[in-house]
Amino acid sequence: MIPRGLEHRRVNSPTAVILVTLALAWLALIIGAPLATVVVEAFGKGLDAFLAAFREPDALASIRLTLLVAAIAVPLNAAFGLAAAWSIARFEFRGKAALLTLIDLPLSMSPVVAGLVWVLLFGARGWFGPLLEVAGVKVIFAVPGIILGTILVTVPLIARELIPLMTEQGADEELAATTLGAGGWTVFRRVTLPNIRWALLHGVLLCNARAMGEFGAVSVVSGHIRGLTETLPLHVEALYNDYDFVGAFSAATLLAGLAVVTLVAKTVLEQLIRAGQAVKPAQELAIP
């Protein structure tokens, strides 16, 4: 007799019903309820009140700044991710493990610390503060600081997507292209890039979501000057602290929408990546 419960994937036993219900209830409480709150609070006073929040010049300025920061931080981190993956997954050198550890380090760093370090360097009493003052350059409480804080928080996100994938794929295809006479740039453009494009896009997506939504690091270096150094998340905070709840939640809806769009795109991409990997295992290859 076949033991019971071996066919997974169907909710037919009392245990299964209980477990699935518990899991769904917990997710509804922990993730669903906050998300619903955002939407309900934003639209609670009607569509007009919601839209009014985006007619504020400060709101528009914060959206513009958020886009600007992401437009600088994400491409830089993408370039870094590609360079790091090319050197780490394609070459053997000493100190690789240390380099990998360093790249991962920002993940275990509090966002506030990721902001703090830039103040320590470029703040009024920072290492380079006096120098910057003489030069008349403002980093902290200005846009450059916001960009630096955002970059530090998001620096590993793309590299960590690419390094394991390229390591797993191996260098044979690139070596084959080289022996066929292709130059470095051609190899990268025509062999490497097509093989990692979905993973790269996946990393860019996550990096972008995190860059646009970053709060802790940016909060430390921004100086909270309305219309100048406030990103959208900081604008949300300011409105909330001013008891403008409709405004705060309206702006928050925009950010939550970004998160949801990111999740959808990410899910689609992951299916594409999985399909791309399915290309690899060769079922017909019988190992003698």
């Binding site: 906050p34 394609r90 050198f93 320590l120 709060f215 939640f249």
Partner: protein, 292 residues
């Protein structure tokens, strides 16, 4: 030919071979590696150097004073205890959710699977104001809890509650792939040997999941201890009671106490790293035992 051999032997053609890197036929190492080092140097190492150096401006005593000050100590304790507590709960709920997602098929499974990642993608400030509203005395959940005498918003409990969402995806995403790869025949073997479902789970499945659960715990803990945005609105930020460590850093910076702020920042980073390294070594020990 033999004579040629001897002539070549003492003078290697490429003496650079035993250098710090191995030869490769692929081009582009210099540029890519140079850019990588420059970037890591400027974006990670230089800031880290500042964080490591600045606390000691007033000597060791300054650092000790900065950290042992009652208000700071209370904040550190709250951040780390709440993070640890939430991470423990996350391990349980994360395991449950990963199990349900890999073992059962139900309508909307794909949506639920994607939703688990929302705390990764949702800006922390958004989560923060939503949680504060939800658990405030007038909020959906807060109003239900008030008659029972439970106060969540603006208390240390709020910090814990906020971190329940923050750490969840770390555990689910660590456990899920292991559960998917777990050989079904293991479970089947256990069951044909007469193990009851609960025995199968505790004696066959759970040991296989332990390393992944540890990873999830460590990541959830490290992230939770440093969390700022989702916590700051619900915490109430009462010094000594519901003030979290990152807020202490912000407060010190506002008072231009760079050394003090750096001390707390360094302490936080150190604790997070120690936990990560400890978990790593436990895993190494576990895998040694498993592969014996």
């Amino acid at each position: 030919m033999v004579a040629l051999d001897a002539a070549f032997a003492p003078a290697p053609l490429k003496p650079a071979r035993r250098s710090w890197r191995e030869h490769s036929a692929l081009p582009g190492f210099g540029g890519a590696f140079g850019f990588t080092l420059l970037y890591v140097g400027l974006i990670i190492l230089l800031p880290l150097a500042a964080l490591a150096a600045r606390p000691w401006e007033h000597g060791l005593g300054g650092v000790v004073d900065a950290i042992l000050q009652p208000r700071t100590l209370a904040a550190l304790r709250l951040s780390f205890l709440a993070a640890a507590g939430a991470a423990v709960v996350n391990v349980l709920t994360g395991l449950l959710i990963a199990w349900v997602l890999t073992r059962y098929d139900f309508p909307g499974r794909g949506v639920v699977d994607a939703l688990v990642d929302l705390p990764f993608a949702l800006p922390t400030a958004v989560a923060g104001i939503a949680l504060a509203t939800l658990y405030s005395p007038g909020g959906w959940i807060g109003s239900l809890l008030q008659p029972v005498g439970l106060k969540v918003a603006y208390t240390p409990v709020g910090v814990f509650v906020a971190l329940l969402a923050v750490g969840l995806p770390f555990v689910v995403r660590a456990v899920q792939p292991v559960l998917e790869d777990l050989d079904a025949s293991l479970e089947e073997a256990a069951q044909t040997l007469g193990a009851r479902p609960l025995q199968t789970f505790s004696r066959v499945i759970l040991p296989a999941l332990t390393p992944a659960l540890l990873t999830g715990f460590a990541l959830a803990f490290a992230r939770g201890a440093g969390e700022y945005g989702s916590v700051i609105f619900i915490a109430g930020n009462m010094p000594g009671v519901s003030e979290i460590a990152p807020l202490v850093i912000v407060t010190r910076l506002e008072g231009y106490d760079y050394a003090g702020a750096a001390s707390v920042g360094l302490a936080m980073l150190a604790v997070s790293l120690i936990v990560l390294v400890a978990v790593n070594s436990i895993q190494v020990a576990l895998s040694r035992r498993g592969s014996r």
